[in-house]
């Protein structure tokens, strides 16, 4: 039995020492990792990888139960839903025919004008499951069960069936962490689909992120569709995000991916545009001159030549 003797006193002293030591250690860990993504990176990734695997299995019955409830609701509304969908299909078949016609015309114009208007949105996408979604008071992140092995890399866009959900902030071998658009640290350059007005979408831990850095000339109105602008060079252009809503004279965005039930998501692997410093032209071993110099000289010459032939002169 634990008595009140010297052994008890010693143990009590030791426990106090250990308590103080662990508090101190926690504080060191905290200070080292706050605002520093690289702190304890490899250890975190290993634990996250194992955690993602465990959570994938643990969440299976939970997701099954959720699906059962959702299915029951769907069956309840099946008849009215069927009618609505039939009407939508008949409407969309007309739209599809018009779209095909426009698409054909567009490709013809592209050929005639010799322009490259390929979409930035990658054609390949990686399906994943959000095994743990943190909707807590601090970060708004999600752990997904795909990583480097599946071709995911930092910065990749993450979509739900409805729209942009967030982007990858850290990648492990078989797991990744997604920073949701609503997170306080989320910053995405966006534009209006209708008039290309630019802004930065800033997360504020509320369900509706704020549109900031709006230019005074920009014309943003409620109901406008917001898409990624690709100006940040991180996310591809054209990913659907949401629609503009005004709250207390502040422009906000109602996200397309605002549904509570997020299970399957898609990662869009995308190679961002590299800066010239990141992607230097190899130096020519013969004369030691960088290729870019030659190119710029040639380009300059070509421009001068063009100007000399210009009818304006």
């Amino acid at each position: 039995m634990i008595g009140r003797g010297s052994g008890f006193q010693k143990r009590r002293r030791n426990s106090r020492l250990i308590f103080t030591g662990l508090i101190f250690l926690s504080a060191i860990f905290y200070l080292a990792s706050v605002g520093n993504d690289n702190a304890f990176k490899s250890s975190r990734k290993n634990v996250e990888g194992v955690g993602a695997k465990i959570l994938t299995y643990l969440t299976l019955p939970v997701r099954g139960f959720e699906k059962l409830i959702a299915d029951t609701g769907n069956r309840w509304n099946a008849h009215s839903e069927n009618e609505r969908l039939k009407e939508k299909v008949s409407r969309l078949s007309d739209t599809e025919a018009r779209l095909n016609d426009l698409s054909f015309k567009l490709s013809r114009f592209e050929t005639i004008l010799n322009v490259d208007v390929d979409s930035d949105i990658p054609e390949t996408k990686i399906a994943a499951r959000a095994v743990s979604e943190n909707d807590g008071p601090f970060a708004k992140t999600a752990l997904i069960n795909v990583g480097v092995k599946q071709g995911v890399s930092k910065g990749d866009a993450v979509m739900t069936i409805d729209g942009l959900y967030g982007h990858i902030i850290s990648v492990g071998n078989s797991s990744s962490r997604v920073l949701k658009l609503v997170d306080l640290n989320s910053r995405v350059s966006v534009m209006s689909k209708s008039n290309q007005a630019r802004a930065i979408l800033i997360g504020d831990n509320s369900p509706f992120p704020t549109l900031s850095y709006i230019s005074s000339q920009a014309d943003w109105d409620d109901g406008m569709t917001v898409i990624t602008s690709g100006d940040d060079g991180v996310l591809p252009m054209g990913l659907p995000i949401g629609t503009v809503v005004t709250e207390n004279e502040i422009r906000k965005v109602k996200l397309f991916a605002n549904r509570n039930f997020v299970d399957w998501i898609w990662v869009y692997p995308y190679d961002p545009i590299k800066t010239p410093e990141e992607d230097p032209v190899p130096v020519d071993p013969v004369d030691g001159a960088g290729m870019e110099d030659t190119t710029s000289q040639e380009t300059g010459a070509a421009v001068q030549e063009d100007l000399s032939e210009s009818p304006l002169q």
């Binding site: 039995m1 634990i2 143990r11 009590r12 030791n14 426990s15 250990i18 308590f19 662990l22 508090i23 250690l25 926690s26 504080a27 060191i28 860990f29 905290y30 200070l31 080292a32 990792s33 706050v34 702190a39 304890f40 975190r44 634990v47 996250e48 955690g51 465990i54 959570l55 643990l58 969440t59 939970v62 959720e66 409830i69 609701g73 743990s132 979604e133 943190n134 909707d135 807590g136 008071p137 601090f138 970060a139 992140t141 752990l143 902030i169 850290s170 962490r177 306080l184 831990n205 509320s206 509570n260 039930f261």
Partner: protein, 170 residues
């Protein structure tokens, strides 16, 4: 009066509580979507801390809380050490003030309401002094969810103790 606890029993109490803490941490990192509502239980480990067995070996308890706190940081993507920094002092305070020693459920639950309010108040204060940027609404939601979850863990604990812990402390 505090019942004397054998060293073996004290160690077993601490190991079992640490294991319960581990389960609560995994549970805390999951979300549940029922009828269009997302339910999160990030504060669930606080219930385990509150119901931590009295007389549990303090050294093992501290290490258990510290490690599970780190695990929660990793699973939630929060800065490492943050949750340990919150859990350890709260556990020490709870032990100091004898939290969770009430006999009846009603009394224990009311006591927990006080501790949960203190916990939520701590985060609100951290926001007020701009140390942490937390969303107060989700904080409130998580606090209420924890109060609803409390009876389940309370009854599971007494049932599990009857199965696992015998008088010999095995």
């Amino acid at each position: 009066m505090i019942e004397p606890v054998t060293p073996t029993k004290a160690r077993n109490f601490a190991i079992q509580a640490s294991f319960a803490m581990l389960i609560s941490v995994i549970f805390a990192s999951m979300t549940f979507n029922i009828f269009g509502y997302t339910l999160g239980f990030i504060f669930a480990p606080l219930i385990v801390l509150f119901l931590w067995p009295k007389g549990a070996d303090p050294i093992i308890s501290y290490f258990g809380i510290f490690i599970t706190g780190l695990l929660l940081d990793i699973l939630l993507g929060d800065p490492l050490g943050g949750w340990s920094l919150i859990f350890l002092p709260f556990y020490a305070l709870m032990v100091f003030f004898g939290a969770g020693r009430d006999t009846g459920f009603g009394e224990t639950w009311l006591n927990f309401v006080f501790w949960m309010s203190a916990f939520t108040g701590f985060f609100a204060l951290a926001k007020l002094i701009r140390f942490l940027d937390v969303d107060l609404m989700s904080l409130l939601k998580l606090g209420v969810m924890n109060l609803v979850l409390f009876p389940l863990i309370f009854y599971s604990k007494s049932r599990m103790r009857r199965i696992i812990v015998t008088d010999e402390g095995t």
